[in-house]
Symmetry: C2
Subunit: 557 residues, 2 copies
């Protein structure tokens, strides 16, 4: 079943040129702000409605000269071929940062000081050991780069004591290595983008079912490296549940963990590679569980009178083994904000009237989705529906579900629009046990509000649950505030720190699916303890003795 | 919800004195061999029906003098209190070995040369750091010991270069630390035996649902340390699926991983502690997912005309998300052997007549079990039943299920009876993908047959599937052969090696739920690669710099 893996002659030039260097995705997808949304920004955030802040013009900007010494340049060009080592401005800019809020603030302001000294775009995985050997020899830091969508600074080209830094763009490692239809597993190269991976699997009647919000621009390797969760992961499982085997190319050698369904052979090395964020080596391929493409997908809306009521309903579903595949509950603020942003379309008016009639107007919207065979979907929908109703839910039918599905990848475009209006739009997330959930949510909301009010920029803070587990749930916060012009990064940092301190103080994990990267590094010690950090360091030193792999992220130094 | 954890005044003497030092469990549970079973041993194994080999008499045996130096003895007695450091004969003998076949061969022969120099039975987890510090200072190796049921040499007191070795018996760490009923998690001390853990949970209406064959004599900590799987783990999940938090007391310090339902905070340290087999430190408590006690438990028998047909039926069930909680398929040989051993009881005659009528007489028996609310069990049983029938299965009703459930923990007693008859009875297990399953099974059977026939002791080799996953299944082999008197260990070693080589050559894991211990150590390099072994070594050096923790197991030196 090993599929042919050569497709020779492809130019080393796969990164689409169309992606916006200063923001999300491609042009042409930015939403308009409804009058209701504009009113909300003005009334609640004290944002000036006339503000329009365009990003810097690339032609006006200068990049620092690449700092690769000639000997390093020659070795790297040897390793991948001269056309696959790029030092041109556009390529360096496209790899200068991830897509977190502080990244976008700096990019839009024209700060390209963080651009890598060069970008390597190898065509084959077997070129990577030579790349890493050359980087080790010449003291060059290496940043593995899949789709570049990290929101935690995971692909920022940090030197961290090294003379130079290169980005290792994996986009040409985009082959389907093997599909084992009998065992329902697929081995995919790490650079495959979400849509390409799904298309390849769909053509064999299969799906991975992994749809993070970054789906269109993130990769298989990025998902595995960051313990990604998708919008349907309550049903399909997080990427860590789906990975059964992996290849990691580290400076010290290759770690090959063949797929097995389960093993008792000691501590899990697979679970060390999953979540390794490029700091232990380069994930070149992964073997993932796949499923038949569902016959049917049904997404529907439910209303609850409060977040507490909705949260108890989701807990009841999950603990009885009746969870839908997509399980999502917006709090009162997020429900209100979504309605404002969506504007006063006909479907929304209908929905509001319905809710008002049932006294849920100021309540919470839940989206639940079922995927599978028609029989199975019907049975599960009926069972879950009964439990949701018993817990106080009112069904809103399929229209809200369809609208959610239509806009499921659109959030980051809205962030670009808000940044243009001078509004900070940032998200952060955690997970904890059901017994700690309400208290943790209140503490994070309070930390965000207090920290931003103290700076004179009162925020709007919203929250949703997007993933449920038998023992607890995720909490995903979005906060909007008028930007402090000239002090955007300080403002962000104050809010981020306050929220993170609240999370670790109340038993939440510092990240449920965004990963650690640069932004969560200060809280890794709270997360795993000092001894835990030392263990991570020992693993890193074994696999990456020179410390060239993605330095300044994940493992506190 | 933190439960009181003091129960002062308990004597440091909890290991039940009734357990047989040379075999399994307690007296009074050994099965009789039916005439059919005796005939089978005679005809197929060429075993002499008159052989009766009694174990050595403890009173006739001498133990090596304990090798603890006075300073070490004094430090350890200080650490746990003088009554909790035991060097008496009975206590040392009770901790001299695990319960694998080679352990029993040596014990029955009166070989007690491996007994530890002393046994520590601390009453509180907070005494353990002092114990480990004293052992580090005096160069004493430490073997953590839960229920002592390891079948891979996991609790053998190996010195491995250390002057002395002590066993750290955790049986007094048997407290329920916390039950969080809202989040359905329970924090249990590691020394809790299976029945005590279940009793404590049951009194809160909860169950862990973890029932390995060793259930009556194995502990929470042992399960976590060995990645245990239970008989209902297809439904409830393996212990690695159930652990959400853990405390590991290592010579370098304490690693505390608080329970969270899911996290993306880097490589999983939890998954390093799970499966650490005492070689990284002492697991003192674990937080585990629990569930409501099921309203109903239904186990039933199904017949298939062949193992291949049955295996495809289980695959269809699992890949459609319709697996029962207990899912078990015996091959033709195991089905025949089970019928012979059970004897010609009325129920068996019924079963046989039924099977003969449906041309399944020489076929395979499957046991499937459903646990949960009555509604849920009824729905799942109907759905799975339809799929099993469509795949060629014939239902045998609940009687075979009840008989299986009655004898579910009895297998190891039968092994003692067979050893008395001069018959080797050993098991080994693996797991692989569905696409490799048939080939792997044939290769292991062939390796066992060839290696034992070459020694003039033709074996009976049976196999079952006991755990199914979407991507594959476990294979559990039992082999019986006439013992080579005086060369029992060579004979075992030849068969074990041949089977293990076959497993690693064909993509199986060296162990699905028995762990690595001493017996699978030679194949760890095949399992995780040389670099993988180096990573494990780096982790061990970080947590256990003097190498005192359970040396000679898990991590090749």
């Amino acid at each position: 079943m090993r599929k042919g893996s050569s497709d020779g002659g492809r130019p080393a030039d796969a990164r689409p040129a169309l992606r916006r260097w200063w923001g999300w995705g491609e042009d042409g997808h930015d939403p308009d702000l409804s009058p209701a949304a504009e009113a909300l920004l003005r009334d609640e955030l004290e944002a000036d409605p006339s503000v329009r802040r365009a990003p810097a013009r690339l032609d006006d900007l200068e990049l620092p000269a690449p700092r690769l010494r000639p000997a390093a340049h020659a070795s790297l060009a040897d390793a991948v071929g001269p056309r696959a080592l790029r030092i041109d401005r556009d390529t360096r800019v496209a790899h200068a940062a991830g897509r977190g809020y502080p990244d976008l603030v700096r990019l839009r302001a024209g700060d390209l000081s963080g651009a890598p000294d060069g970008v390597l775009i190898p065509e084959f995985a077997d070129q990577i050991p030579t790349v890493l050997a050359a980087c080790t020899e010449h003291g060059v830091a290496v940043v593995p780069f899949g789709g570049g969508t990290s929101v935690v600074g995971g692909v920022e080209p940090l030197r961290d004591g090294h003379e130079s830094v290169v980005t290792l763009d994996l986009s040409l490692l985009d082959r389907v290595v093997d599909i084992d239809e009998m065992s329902l597993i697929a081995t995919l190269e790490s650079g495959l983008l979400g849509p390409a991976a799904e298309a390849a699997l769909n053509s064999a009647g299969l799906t991975l079912g992994h749809f993070p919000q970054s789906f269109e621009y993130s990769t298989v390797g990025g998902w595995v490296a960051t313990r990604s969760a998708g919008q349907a992961s309550t049903g399909y499982g997080r990427i860590d549940d789906l990975v059964e085997g992996v290849r990691l190319c580290a400076p010290a050698g290759e770690l090959v963990l063949e797929p097995v369904p389960a093993t008792a052979a000691g501590p899990s090395l697979l679970e060390l590679v999953v979540g390794s964020e490029g700091a232990l080596g380069v994930i070149t391929e992964a073997t993932l569980r796949v499923r038949p493409v569902p016959e049917e997908r049904v997404y529907e809306g439910w209303a609850f009178s409060s977040f507490g009521e909705g949260s108890e309903a989701l807990r009841a579903l999950e603990q009885r083994g009746a969870s839908p595949d997509v399980t999502r509950l917006s709090d009162e603020q997020e429900t209100r904000l979504s309605l404002a942003i969506a504007g006063a379309g006909a479907s929304q008016r209908l929905g509001r009237a319905y809710l008002r009639a049932r006294r849920r107007e100021s309540g919470c919207l839940a989206i639940v989705g079922y995927e599978g065979s028609s029989d199975d979907v019907a049975h599960r929908q009926k069972r879950a529906g009964g439990l949701l109703r018993a817990a106080g839910g009112v069904t809103l039918g399929r229209r809200p579900g369809r609208e959610w599905a239509r806009g499921r990848f659109a959030g980051p475009y809205l962030r670009d629009v808000l940044l243009e209006r001078g509004v900070m739009a940032e998200t952060l997330e955690t997970a904890t046990t059901w017994s700690r959930l309400a208290e943790l949510r209140a503490a994070v909301q309070d930390a965000l509000r207090t920290s931003l009010e103290m700076r004179g920029t009162p925020p709007l803070v919203t929250c949703h649950i997007s993933h449920v587990y038998p023992s607890g749930a995720s909490l995903y916060f979005t906060f909007l505030a008028r930007q402090e012009e000239g002090a955007e990064l300080d403002q962000w940092s104050a809010a981020k720190s306050a929220a993170s301190e609240a999370i670790v103080a109340r038993g939440g994990t510092i990240t449920h699916h965004h990963a650690v990267g640069r932004d969560h590094l200060p809280w890794m010690c709270d997360e795993v303890g000092e001894l835990g950090v030392e263990v991570l360091r020992a693993v890193k030193e074994q696999l990456d003795p020179s410390g060239i792999m993605n330095p300044g992220k994940l493992v506190p130094s």
